[in-house]
Symmetry: C2
Subunit: 145 residues, 2 copies
Amino acid sequence: MQRELSVGEVAERSGVAVSTLHFYEARGLIRSRRTAGNQRRYPREILRRIAVIRVAQRAGIPLATIAAALATLPEGRTPDASDWQALSQAWRADLDARITRLTRLRDQLDGCIGCGCLSMQACPLRNPRDELGAEGPGPRLLDPG
Amino acid sequence: MQRELSVGEVAERSGVAVSTLHFYEARGLIRSRRTAGNQRRYPREILRRIAVIRVAQRAGIPLATIAAALATLPEGRTPDASDWQALSQAWRADLDARITRLTRLRDQLDGCIGCGCLSMQACPLRNPRDELGAEGPGPRLLDPG
DNA sequence: TCTTGACCTCAACTTTACTCGAGGTTCTAG
DNA sequence: CTAGAACCTCGAGTAAAGTTGAGGTCAAGA
């Protein structure tokens, strides 16, 4: 079996900076054992954990949310495929929603910005949730939906 | 014809905070006339401009980029449909790329995080640009692609 | 006229996700 | 055993996109 990895080794093999690993540790995303000389040592599983973190980030999930999700992994034993699968289920839903939102936006973009309807109350871009006229003073731009 | 609008009116009708309008002005995204008493006054077209800004933001485009795009609008005359259309063309391409990236990520998420392949060199999530083995020391997580 | 609400500027603070540097320790190879 | 690489902590800095507050002015109704 390979031995434990130092921060520098983890940085090199994971592609994230040493400072980022420190940062992730401070944020509770990863943990490390310390040597007698106070240096960090990681098991090889750390690489998968970091890979998962980066994947989730690419999906647009904030670190705090990722940290919360990782906290649901089992303490003590090394997470197995089904543990990781559970995480990916949750993130997939998030990703689906994000894609849907962007796709809807794209489908409306040409027709809407270009045509002049932004000046009219019925424009779906101005009222992305179709909450038009529900109440309040005149047309408004609603929150990003 | 309606008269000009004050910041408060613009804020109310556009749904963005007054402080945000100040901020957009500082960033060059919008402009205003000043009254004798130094208060901001906007033509009604400002509402469309703000609507376009918010739409672009929802598409994930940073303000600096939006400002650059808005700067290509004609000086002097009020932008017409074809002016706005030109903007939306550029942003649509951006949006398409973003959607493609997220979709690819989603399609790989279950199969990849869940299955254990993150520990293997061939995993597309770890090597989103298929740059594996090109060089360098071992597997790495590449930049968000 | 007076008061209240809207407006003004400018500086400082917030959050997210990091990076950088200073000052000091540990580890490893020659 | 010593040089230099790698490591440590902690504080500060960065960028984006705003928000908040202090201190002061403007405008409209009673």
